[in-house]
């Protein structure tokens, strides 16, 4: 079927789909970021320390209605005492124009290491939550998210 559409038309369709469904926000920068960028951003955040899995739960829908506002919750197992607590939580993404989503500073006064927010997703990609513990160690949890863009072609009218 596809080879009956001439290539120029096909790329025009793709452009329309991009501009319409996603908004110009993601059309400006094509997905040129690679998973390497994500790994590098996390490495920099952890200052080169080992980032292990476990103890962190990143709750994000695996299929979302609209990438403009995606609910995310990060929950970290921790007694949240002066001696043993979560000092910071950061959320990173793979394919938005920038790797950072948000960075939170916590402490024993938080009582519970849980943060919720809403984020933008330019396209389907991996999201990673990283927690910095009070002993200087790092833990993380990654989730792959499929973004279903709104199909109704709506420009500014």
């Amino acid at each position: 079927m596809n080879d009956r559409i001439d290539p120029a038309d096909r790329s025009r369709r793709r452009l329309l789909a991009l501009a319409a469904g996603a908004g110009a926000w993601l059309a400006v920068r094509p997905a040129r970021a690679a998973p390497d960028d994500l790994a590098a951003a996390i490495r920099m955040y952890a200052g080169g320390a080992d980032v292990r899995g476990g103890g962190v739960t990143l709750d994000v829908p695996e299929l979302v209605d609209n990438g403009n506002s995606v609910p995310v919750t990060v929950d970290v197992d921790s007694p949240m005492t002066a001696a043993d607590h979560v000092a910071a939580i950061a959320i990173f993404n793979e394919r938005n124009p920038e790797r950072d989503v948000a960075r939170y500073t916590l402490g024993p006064r938080a009582g519970r290491a849980r943060v919720s927010t809403r984020m933008r997703l330019a396209t389907s990609q991996t999201i990673v939550a990283v927690a910095r513990m009070s002993d200087g160690s790092y833990r993380s949890h990654a989730v792959d998210v499929v973004v279903v863009l709104a199909a109704c072609i709506e420009g500014d009218v």
Partner: protein, 262 residues
């Protein structure tokens, strides 16, 4: 169970069905689904919980505007209407309604804007302006949980009929009528989205796509642009007549304003 008792039970069921059928609101509300019914659980939660619902930011501003004096008359909405929680109860559910002064149907946003000019002598509240949306959201909230109740005003009949005709008229380069998507194909997918039945129970809505609150007029204009039709300006009679028809289709459904939609 004896045969007689079973027969009586069947009869009772039939009777109950007949009673239900006699009340159009009951039968229709069984079949009709609001736009929120096909949303993801996350988006539904965003609408259900006021602490999560971004439209409540507009409601909060509307509440503040309600009691703030505006215009040379130095009057606030509250000076005439008192506590909106009582005086505005059900008002959004009854709009669009007939406006004596302009001898036309007006939607809730237009009614608020007109009230502001006529009685407060304040400057016009432009369509989609923050103030108009904020007041509309605050007033609409007062009808939450009530049934959509289009007025049985005969002066609206011709406009309602015109709205119905517009709903079924093919428009734009895609040559599509509202009804082709929202009646004939509602519930099916258009790309990644479920096509809703087009019941305007939640307006003004916070639409994730807009990253903002917006009116039913904005939504209608967006759809018209989507099918590549000529888009009428805000407050055009076409948009209000269409809204009248949509309200009559949704009669008896529950107002869930301010809604959240993808």
């Amino acid at each position: 169970m004896s045969r007689v008792a079973a027969g009586a039970r069947v009869l009772a069921l039939v009777a109950a069905t007949v009673v239900l059928a006699a009340s159009p609101a009951c039968v229709q509300s069984d079949a009709r689904r609001p736009g929120s019914a096909t949303m993801s659980p996350q988006t539904r939660a965003m609408q259900r919980d006021d602490a999560q619902n971004p439209a409540m930011l507009w409601v909060a501003d509307g509440e503040a505007l309600w009691s703030r004096a505006a215009g040379p008359a130095g009057r606030a909405c509250a000076d005439c209407h008192g506590d909106a929680r009582a005086s505005m109860r059900g008002v959004a559910a009854r709009h669009p309604a007939y406006d004596e002064a302009s001898r036309r149907p007006v939607d809730l946003g237009q009614r608020i804007a007109a009230c502001r000019q006529r009685h407060q002598q304040a400057g016009p509240l432009a369509p989609e302006s923050h103030e108009r949306l904020a007041l509309e959201a605050y007033v609409a909230l007062q009808s939450r949980g009530m049934a959509v109740a289009p007025p049985a005003d005969p002066r609206l009949d011709a406009h309602r009929e015109r709205g119905r005709a517009l709903f079924h008229q093919r428009i734009g380069q895609l040559d599509l009528a509202c009804a082709q998507c929202h009646d004939a194909n509602a519930g099916k997918r258009l790309g990644g989205s479920t096509i809703p039945e087009a019941h305007p129970t939640g307006y003004p809505i916070y639409r994730l796509e807009w990253q903002s609150a917006g009116s039913l007029q904005r939504r209608l204009r967006g759809c018209m642009g989507g099918v590549r039709a000529e888009v009428p300006p805000y407050d055009a009679p076409d948009l209000v007549d269409l809204a009248l028809h949509l309200a009559s289709r949704a009669a008896g459904m529950i107002v869930d304003a301010p809604g959240v939609r993808p």
